[in-house]
């Protein structure tokens, strides 16, 4: 389109001047001596116009279009690269934020777990202690009970023994001296038992 425009304007602008030159140079004069010839002049102007048109069609237009295309491509790819860079930065930020959050969460969980563990062990220890105390108390009560039973049993046996001993003493003829000694012995023994 532009090429046609240029061509037409070369013709439109050049032709009037051309006509004047043609008229001036038709007869041989000083210009003719220099080689100026109207027909040749027209031919050269037409040649130039043709060259301009051909070069426009085959050289300037494709090359300029290519340059334009390349400029656009480069601008486009620069823009895209910038976008990618920004995206990358954003992703990096997000990744770091997520990492930080995860780390913080993990720490929270660990702290919680530690606390829970401590509480559990404390509870277990307290329970164990309480159970032990209960067992101990029960064992003590048992022991006390058995001791009392033993003592009661012993007492009755001692009484039996005393009766037995008394019976034997009665069967034998004892002197007063022996009698006292015997009773004293039994009494001492029972006394000892009582203390135990």
């Amino acid at each position: 389109m532009d090429g046609m425009f240029a061509l037409m304007s070369v013709a439109g602008g050049g032709l009037p001047l051309l006509a004047a030159a043609l008229l001036a140079a038709e007869e041989p004069g000083p210009l003719g001596a220099l080689g100026i010839d109207g027909r040749m002049l027209i031919a050269q102007i037409v040649n130039f116009a043709i060259l301009l048109g051909l070069l426009w069609a085959f050289l300037y237009r494709p090359v300029l279009r290519m340059l334009q295309e390349r400029r656009e491509r480069i601008a486009e790819s620069m823009r895209r690269a910038e976008e990618v860079k920004q995206q990358l930065a954003r992703a990096q930020q997000e990744y770091e934020a997520a990492l930080l959050r995860a780390r913080r969460e993990a720490q929270g969980i660990i702290a919680q777990a530690n606390e829970l563990g401590k509480r559990l062990t404390d509870e277990a220890r307290q329970r164990a202690q309480a159970e032990a105390q209960v067992d101990l108390d029960r064992a003590r009560a048992q022991i006390r009970l058995e001791t009392q039973q033993a003592i009661a049993k012993l007492r009755s046996e001692v009484a039996d023994l005393a009766v037995l001993a008394a019976g034997r003493i009665i069967q034998r003829s004892l002197d007063t001296r022996q009698h006292y000694d015997l009773v004293a012995d039994v009494l001492r023994e029972t006394e000892k038992l009582k203390v135990e």
Binding site: V10, F48, L55, L67
Partner: protein, 290 residues
């Protein structure tokens, strides 16, 4: 080793390789006059130049890839560099309109200048008898050593400046040349502008023609004096001149196009804009420029 060999070549060429002085003629030779068109050797070279450029363009853009390789890379480098240049002079909006013209002028002038240095240009041709004298009519002659070519380019360049000027500024563009503002002086300056516009056509065409034609004459003379080797540095010089002239032609066209599309109002606005800012800003600007 190499300097000795070069000197030996110089000497051998000097004594045994003598050539005739090339016939130097300002008008390009007409090979066949077709009536509606004189088929000149410079016209053949023009077509060759066009063919080279178009074929190169087609090859370079035949299999365009997003990652450029080889010729595509080179072409993109040149076009992108030039587009940046046009943009820096004319601004982004005008650059799109001016670029094809400026670029084509540069490529065409550069290619025809350099093609003219290829061996065979100006030396391969046929004998012609004119007024009892035998002389060589070369088959090809650099397009830019024909005034018709440079004159045509100059006409296109100046005409396009007028076209863009009118297309952008409408009638106020013509006010640059015909004005009653500041009556006697302003009107006179306007007429001077008009004359300078016409003078541009001649300065454009003769600068390019003169430089390239003179280069060929110089090479012809050097080859006549010292046939071998001596012309080499001058060939290098002419390569450089060819590049510079192409660049100058394109850049001047660009500047004239840009100037033609900047109205008086716009210029004043920019001026007022600069004044509105503090001296610090102005200072920053001057330092930036220096």
């Amino acid at each position: 080793m190499i300097p000795i060999a070069l000197i030996a070549l110089l000497a051998v060429g000097f004594f045994f390789g003598r050539v005739e002085l090339e016939r130097i003629s300002v008008p390009a030779d007409t090979l066949v006059d077709l009536g509606f068109l004189p088929l000149r050797n410079s016209l053949l070279a023009t077509w060759l130049t066009m063919a080279v450029l178009v074929v190169l363009g087609i090859i370079a853009t035949a299999r365009m890839t997003l990652v450029p390789r080889g010729l595509q890379n080179l072409v993109e480098l040149v076009l992108e560099g030039f587009y940046g240049l046009v943009e820096s002079v004319a601004g982004p909006d005008r650059a799109r309109r001016f670029f094809p013209l400026v670029m084509t002028i540069f490529l065409f002038v550069l290619t025809s200048n350099w093609l003219g240095l290829v061996p065979g240009f100006g030396t391969i041709g046929f004998e012609k008898v004119e007024e009892g004298e035998h002389h060589l009519v070369p088959l090809l002659r650099a397009a830019t050593t024909d005034l018709n070519t440079t004159f045509g380019l100059a006409l296109v360049s100046v005409a396009m400046a007028q076209y863009f000027g009118v297309a952008t500024l409408r009638l106020s563009y013509l006010g640059k040349f015909f004005t009653l503002h500041n009556f006697p002086i302003g009107t006179f300056v306007g007429l001077l502008e008009l004359i300078s516009e016409i003078a541009k056509i001649f300065s454009f065409s003769f600068r390019l023609f003169g430089n390239i034609f003179a280069g060929h004459v110089l090479l012809a003379v050097i080859v006549f004096l010292v046939p071998w080797v001596a012309a080499l540095p001058f060939l290098g010089l002419e390569l450089f001149v060819g590049l510079i002239q192409a660049f100058i032609f394109a850049m001047l066209t660009l500047v004239f196009l840009t100037m033609a599309t900047i109205g008086h109002g716009e210029g004043h606005e920019e001026h007022a804009h600069a004044e509105a800012h503090g001296p610090a800003e102005q200072h920053a600007r001057t330092t930036a420029h220096s």
